[in-house]
Amino acid sequence: MILDVKDLFCGYGGPDVVQGVSFSLAEGERLCVLGPNGCGKTTLLRAIAGLLPRRGQVLLDGADAACLPRRALARKVALMSQLAPVYFSYTVYETVMLGRYPHRKGGLLDRDSDADRSAVRESLERVGLWQARDRAVTELSGGQLQRVFLARVFAQDPEVILLDEPTNHLDLKYQVELTESLRAWTARPGRGAVGVFHDISLALVFADRVLLMQDGQVRYLGPAAALDRDLLGRVYGMDVAGYMRATLKRWE
């Protein structure tokens, strides 16, 4: 298992938002976290990434993540947060190059290595933005910026990518392309991804397995194909499957 989460509790000082979540991620696997607003999906990702104080265990390749220094942790786990505004006019290339930060030695004489440069180029080509590498990120649309940040996560070259609603701001074509490029990425040896999605149909296209959350607890963990529609409907408080079918019917 490249990632093991055991009995994780986490919150923001008040009552725990994530209450005893356990799951594991195998090599090459894509897990999607589903659940209604406020059920603790984002908090779960942030806790795994080590951004919040937590109880319980997070194991990476069997080693306790809490014992890793930040840089070492960032070489194993990357988090793509929900889109935040950018204030400073870095170029697309510079922004993606920052993903190499945990791989650098640092210091005064630090230069981009050949490995850094080829990782950045490959990442930008994966998201189709190599041609736009000299543009300022402040001039990009939300969707383009989202792809830049995905490329930065690729350049960070972790074992596990955590994605928090990566397809927000993307039109349908790029949503599909993003899930495809993630699929290609996780096919490389020793990789895996955990994604939080709002769009349930896209989540089911992206994921091998589903973790369904409600009020901070796991309601279902298993193959995406075996997700019970009634359970999904109860958790979301509406007939999700019926709604999607009805929507499709209107097109036919």
Partner: protein, 336 residues
Amino acid sequence: MALLALAAVLALTAGAALGSVPIPPGDILAILANRLFGSPLPPAMGPGYPAMVMDMRLPRVALAFLTGAALAMSGTVMQSVLQNPLASPFGLGVSSGAGLGAAVVIVTGLAAGAAGTVILPAVSLVCALGTAGLVLWFAGQLDRGAGGVTIVLIGMTASLFFNAIMDLLATLSPAYAQRIGLWQLGSFSMREWSAVWVLLPVTAAGLVFFFGHARALDVMTFGQEQAQAMGVDLRRTRGRLIVAVSLLAGSSVAFVGIIGFIDLIAPHVARRFFGASHRRVLPASALIGGTFMVLCDLAARTLVPPREIPIGSITALLGAPFFLYVYFTGRRRGRL
């Protein structure tokens, strides 16, 4: 960058050459050569020139350049650390803290006499550091993550609060009001080489220190959560950088008083011409800040001779419209 360095040299030369008595740049070079290498002075030179250049003009332009560079770098780092293009050491309360310390020293009469030349800078530097520590501590109490916005808000509050106390002190002790007022607007008059010899290593060390953190600063501009997820030990790195900023900004305030706007605008100019990467922005903003300060000081003492306009007024007069320009063009493009 080479052009910028050239502009800095030209500004320094102009700063040394122009004044109540203009001195040709050739003579300045000759005087420098005479001091450094013992070469003879040209016989045609005015008799007072060497003393004027060495004791008045040069220390003054050197000090102006160094404080400009130090403030500009502090501003650059502050804006990145707090992910806020409007942040500055001023906004963190560091400058006002240092100023208040100085005002207290002035009012209590400790600033008078020879000891004052040491006590005044020392106390204001300690107050600058103390204010930074207080603001960070307070922000940490309010909000466990001590977010950038929290720090900016607390810093602004501290800044206004300390300024108000300074005004109060000035009102209550009219005898010292003028001196406090002068401090609040900054001045390079009556400055000696000793200040330069303190600020030069501090500023150089600051540049090297910040340059070593250039990539971490780059990462931090994208937000605290992202920075941490990308491997930056946020609390420790940010703490170190803010202490360094306070030292740098505090020591320049300690010698010349509060001079605003350079710390805010120099980073913006540098980014506009050199992009956002700190490996370029840090040296560029230092050069821009230094050059701009020398030119402002030149304007301050030559526009209405023999009177001297406070340097803080000049930087604000030029800085305020520029600030609005940056703010509104930035907002139109959705950048701020």
